[in-house]
Symmetry: C2
Subunit: 417 residues, 2 copies
């Protein structure tokens, strides 16, 4: 895979698309004309199946069966079915995954549970590079229980040294949201367990993007996002994993009726449902779950290994193309050069990154910008073509060659970037 | 309103529908033919506007604009807009309401925050009659912080006596999910404040059903449900209210990036957004929010006072009809007889309640059953006709007169009732 270069001509890129066994998968997605979508790592596009499914859900199930749909249309089992498909993507058993709430709320559940599983320890360890919301959630838990727990945040290079016997939980995001750098599950599971701690992974930029084998890596717990590479729709429900070995000790702090062993008993005392079922809290959001189900199934049907192989090829071509076509314009690779060590995204530093990204978006090449200076491009190969990579490089080179980015309209910062 | 009786004939009921100024509102909803839907208190039906809105959202926004929709289609502001409409239904300012997560998760935030606002107190007080998930959430918080807080649960009749100076929070559900009995906001605000405590209301069976004036009643905090009388769809996002006076002290324990003062700064330290904006945690669920927005707007446009007046009339007719037509069959009113003292639902005890409800559902009259012996009927007057009430009573009388309920197929308990 390493050393793949961008074709010299667009015609050659089109030739690669014609030969691509995954080319037909693009037809499964709604992608607007004239857009090269390199932001599926922020929000995957809708599968066509989702549009059909939601239309039927609204009219025939919600509108047709009303409240009866909870049983007659299987709404009550939807989150469990999705969890089973996600389990297959992350290398664990269906009974170890739950789908509920958001990544942040699920992380709160796992952190609070993990702290209680290590009653004589007082530290959650993470790295500065971790996604901010993960750090915020841990800060919030520490703020709630300051005598019980504190958060230790160190630069990545100091992680190993900071992992000592005070650490209850090592909390890491598998794929760095800025650089795409990918942690080694095995290394950190082993390191955390060696000092007696637990490891909790955030798979938000991994699930549906790269093959993940949590069981083999002996991971303790994990959370992940439904709306990125799983194409579940904006703000889709999230998932959480708890290894079977911890099910007896695991105790979520959010005791909701849907996590009760018998919710419709309406009894006075909370009795947690067994295993990950206790991660459910409120009534499951059926519209969002139905969309997530279509998104997850679309990815699972294509197959994660084939997707990953093509994503590595696309991202290698993109890097090679940018370095060849934009030479001298100050774009500096911010991602690991070895594709085995990064997820499906590639980032470049540039001091004018914000304006350059706006200029790209104006040309229909949608990536995103992350402060302070990162242009970020995601390669979700289910719907991306080799020609898209060629077009993206061509657009970027055109923008850099002509200083097209240097216009007031591209410098105004929107509220959401 | 008291003393309204059921018309003797169906023709007379139809006459009332012809004269009803709200009759046309039914056209705004998807209601299947042949169904009398008396379970809008569990799951409101979809407004037609929701089907249109979701179709456009999926194809034109998510599928058409992709990630850009967060700004170009205003997704980022959707929850704030919905909150403003809900604020108008519960008598508070738009800046005092947030829409996020589930009722249960929101209650966890408010309870944890409220406990910290009364640092020298250690009790959350509630009544046995409160909805189980509310009790479970409080139990979960107490289990997480046993030195800090405990839950005191007493029968309703002992609430006043149990409200002492140890109480940090009085937690009550406004409308009882079993009987429909409605608490007096003013009485309990006054009582809680007299001993120096806070009051948190659950408005799940109130919002969109009965006029609520939390500000006038000096309520401190509240949560409420989006999928019952607000017709937001199965598992719709929930809302939370925090009185302006508490915004400076209020601190949610769930520190997510969407509740950060500047989420896209991606800074290392959590700084809460001002006021209720800090109640947002993860990325907002746009499909579910769009459906909720349509549901909430449909109710707000009709007007809560007109809805309540008709609901009281319908429920009075239903009680009078059941007591007249089903006399001698053992159905005993479980709701307050005074319509001013109950929400928009009516319950009857019957030892064979489960089978009777299944027989009713088989006839297309959808209410629900709550253990141990309650038949529960909700009157959401935006789409219910006087003739529906007549038909429901007629079906129930037919079932009771003929013992139609006494069949094995009606006695088998489904997983979800």
């Amino acid at each position: 895979m390493i050393g793949v270069t961008l074709p010299e001509t667009r015609a050659q890129a089109l030739e690669l698309d014609r030969a691509d066994p995954l080319a037909g998968c693009r037809e499964d997605f709604v992608i607007p004309e004239g857009v090269v979508y390199l932001d599926g790592n922020s929000l995957g596009p809708p599968p066509h199946s989702t549009l059909d499914r939601i239309r039927r859900l609204m009219a025939d199930e919600w509108g047709g069966e009303l409240i009866r749909s909870w049983t007659s249309r299987g709404w009550i089992d939807m989150s469990t079915q999705i969890a089973a498909t996600i389990a297959s993507l992350i290398g664990v058993r269906p009974s170890e995954v739950a789908v509920a709430d958001s990544v942040s709320v699920n992380l709160f559940k796992l952190l609070a549970a993990g702290v209680r599983m290590r009653p004589d320890r007082h530290v959650i360890l993470t790295e500065e590079e971790n996604f901010p919301t993960d750090q915020y959630i841990a800060q919030g838990l520490a703020d709630l229980m300051p005598e019980r727990i504190s958060l230790r945040v160190v630069p990545r290079r100091e992680l190993a040294a900071a992992l000592d016997e005070d650490v209850a939980i090592l909390m890491l995001t598998h794929v760095d949201f800025r650089s795409g750098a990918m942690h080694d599950f095995f290394r950190w599971s082993e390191a955390a367990h060696r000092v007696g701690g637990l490891v909790i992974w955030d798979l938000s930029h991994s699930a549906g993007a790269v093959p993940v084998n949590l069981a083999e890596a002996d991971a303790d717990m994990a959370v992940g996002c439904g709306y990125k590479y799983l194409n579940g729709g904006p703000g889709a429900p999230a998932f959480a994993y708890v290894a079977r070995a911890h099910h007896d000790q695991f105790r979520s702090p959010l005791w909701g009726w849907m996590g009760h062993a018998d919710p419709f008993e309406f009894g006075p005392e909370y009795r947690p449902a067994p295993g990950v079922a206790s991660l459910s809290v409120g009534t499951p959001p059926i519209l969002s779950l139905a969309a997530l189900q279509c998104g997850v199934e679309t990815v699972a049907e294509i197959g994660i290994r084939r997707l990953r192989a093509k994503a590595m090829e696309l991202s290698e071509m993109f890097i090679a193309g940018v370095e060849r076509e934009c030479r001298g314009h100050g774009l500096e690779l911010a991602s690991p050069r070895n594709p085995e060590r990064r997820g499906n995204q590639v980032s470049f530093h540039h001091s004018e990154g914000y304006a350059i990204m706006q200029a790209l978006i104006a040309r229909g090449v949608i990536g995103d910008f992350r402060a302070p200076d990162l242009l970020r491009f995601g390669f979700a190969p289910a719907y991306l073509r080799y020609a898209d990579v060629w077009d993206a490089v061509d657009a970027l080179a055109g923008i850099m060659d002509s200083n097209e980015w240097d216009q007031p309209r591209f410098r105004v910062r929107a509220k959401v970037t």
